[in-house]
Assembly symmetry: C2
Amino acid sequence: MNTPHVVIIGGGFGGLETAQRLRKANVRVTIVDRHNYHLFQPLLYQVATGGLSPANIATPLRAIVRKQANCEVLMAEVEDIDVTNQKLVLADGELEFDILVVASGATHSYFGRDDWEPVAPGLKTLADATRIRKRIYLAFEAAERETDEELRKALLTFVVVGGGPTGVELAGALSEIAAHTLKHDFRHINPEDSRILVIEAAPHILAHYPEELCKRAAEKVRSLGIEVHTHTKVTEITPDQVRLATADEETVVLTKTVLWGAGVQASPLGKKLAAACGLETDRAGHLPVTDRLNIAGHENIFAIGDIATCLGQDGKPLPGLAAVAVQQGAYVAKRIAAYGAAVGKNSDGGKGLPAMASSATGKPFIYNDKGTMATIGRAAAVAEIGKHQFCGFFAWILWLFVHLMLIVKFQNRVLILLQWAWSYATFNRSNRIISGEQPVVLPEAKDAAASVE
Amino acid sequence: MNTPHVVIIGGGFGGLETAQRLRKANVRVTIVDRHNYHLFQPLLYQVATGGLSPANIATPLRAIVRKQANCEVLMAEVEDIDVTNQKLVLADGELEFDILVVASGATHSYFGRDDWEPVAPGLKTLADATRIRKRIYLAFEAAERETDEELRKALLTFVVVGGGPTGVELAGALSEIAAHTLKHDFRHINPEDSRILVIEAAPHILAHYPEELCKRAAEKVRSLGIEVHTHTKVTEITPDQVRLATADEETVVLTKTVLWGAGVQASPLGKKLAAACGLETDRAGHLPVTDRLNIAGHENIFAIGDIATCLGQDGKPLPGLAAVAVQQGAYVAKRIAAYGAAVGKNSDGGKGLPAMASSATGKPFIYNDKGTMATIGRAAAVAEIGKHQFCGFFAWILWLFVHLMLIVKFQNRVLILLQWAWSYATFNRSNRIISGEQPVVLPEAKDAAASVE
């Protein structure tokens, strides 16, 4: 019996869903990922702010698929995709495929200012999260020792670039750290003196939400003592300051800690695959896909999740949400399973696999929007579910519930809940250890250029 | 009122105990540590093998002493001690003291073969633990992909140098990983084929225990499938192999993973302080102290814990145990508190502090041995409590109980217990994520020299 080999690049929400849905299909599945774990990205900001441990939100891919006999995991870096010969070029080898699912996600975009990356780290990986955690807590440590009033203020100023969900969640967590977690920890500074700014070029923060909800979210954010600067662009970031520009004026904010929550860029594989298939990506590197989620002209190559541009029924691109990737993974798995079943029945005695059916058959992918939500600091969130909008404590409870349910792939979700409940009840971020291989160097206020990371 | 300034170098068991016991004393306390956390070292091997997260065994020092108004924490690296001027030389400043408690602990010793460190990492810090965790799990990943039979065997061979508690605990945890945790995770290798060796130069492993207990421990270790090589020296370690020598013969073991659990060396501050005071350290760098735990000739400088050599009542040096450091910390705090009280009563109106009373007054330090214990893999341990010796499951329950009680400084001990119970019940080491800033590089079997770390 012929058994097609399905290679999935990326063990995130989309890739993992595809793999698991192929559990009973007549296919061999290989998940290729550079990490050995699946990351629950929606809670990454909790790791970056010391509320959770990296292992709380990362589960070994092998552990997830251990009982799925037709699935194996390969920890490897994919360098290129050889479409003609149907194989992946790995950093240390090759891997042939019959069917390919590209689900390698996205990374930050600095809009052409990649030189800002070292001074303004983004939040996409576990390494990012521990790096940001280190910077936040080291800034307080340095402020405690600083005697110059102006430098101390700069150390206690935190600028979050981007008012999307990541930026707002980070700012909210920062305000909780300053107002509660570190309240009694220092002798020479008062962490409550911290200044937290969210910078957003658009007219509203959380701009994907309906305007009414945006306004309420902004009010809530401001009530936490966070400064929200909308209509404002960041024009320069150095280790010592950021330069902000509105339509009317330019201001300079002295700060030692800038966090990047602004742009997103599809994984570089998108561009490579597009070039190989004679397609073009959009400015953010997203691969265009058909309404069957395959690459035009390549029925056996699919792209799902943050790497792809998939148009919704309103003609706008679908947002970069876990829910989109998961539904796309399920859709693609269904198509592949149907193909596997057909191939299995029509065994041709070794003449190789037939081509996949034209993408014109079957129903196109339709995203079923069950709502979106984002947290704003302690016990507050905004949510839009169908036509209903929620803001505040109830939205937060919803957020908590949905995320805990979503985290079902994690065997230790009870532990996460307990850890969370503990942090919540005690204001204690027990994971705020400053780790790293290097001996710790405080950001030396007088020579900040050398102190970056 | 005069208030002496007590500076404590090191926030480990000894330093923290000293600080906390000075809670109500007429002193100002500053704990200086290069890390911002207190580390519960006895469970470090659990982090190294993926059973616990770093944050489970590390608590921010500031959080521990937040309510102790007379205590502050300084995150800094101590470079030298200026005995004459009573101040510390920090990497980025100075710190004056009236009374100094040196509790900076110990690090690994490679017995003059420091070149072995990159290939055979030791286990003393959180960074060590995550590095070892990465190496262990990457070895299995590489073995899964390796097609050469001999290289695959080398990847599945783990050599632990040193049969003390650390070595035995690491080997036990490795055997559990191979036999249980990873049982169904791979498709091309069987983790149970792993070979685990413990190499010990002495006639017995766990040589600090009575001979009868050693033998039973060795039996138990062997019953886990671990090869115990006593009377055996390691003469060479390379990225590809270790060379072992007994009295009769030399053998070579092909391996990609060597873990160092052998030598211990006092923190380098010991040697510097000894030189400044005209004393000599022993070969392992331990500072000699009087039976009052101060440095001879310096009544106001104390050394406790792993950095000091303190003779027990039997004339032998006390072992490097948390219990010793804690009792020493309590003793030193009592002396300092008495001095603080005396100084406070006899306020001299700003003429400076009187010298500390001669160390000949008061009772000398006596270590109260409440027993020692070590785990051997899953649900087994050895323990010696007074004249009672235990081996096996009961000893393990004892070990568990004692360590959970000891961890009282950790506010999240309930979580640790739950996490532990979970790991135990499910054989699941949920913390086996391979982390690190660099993109993951598998130990390339053909070019192992480049793959180290």
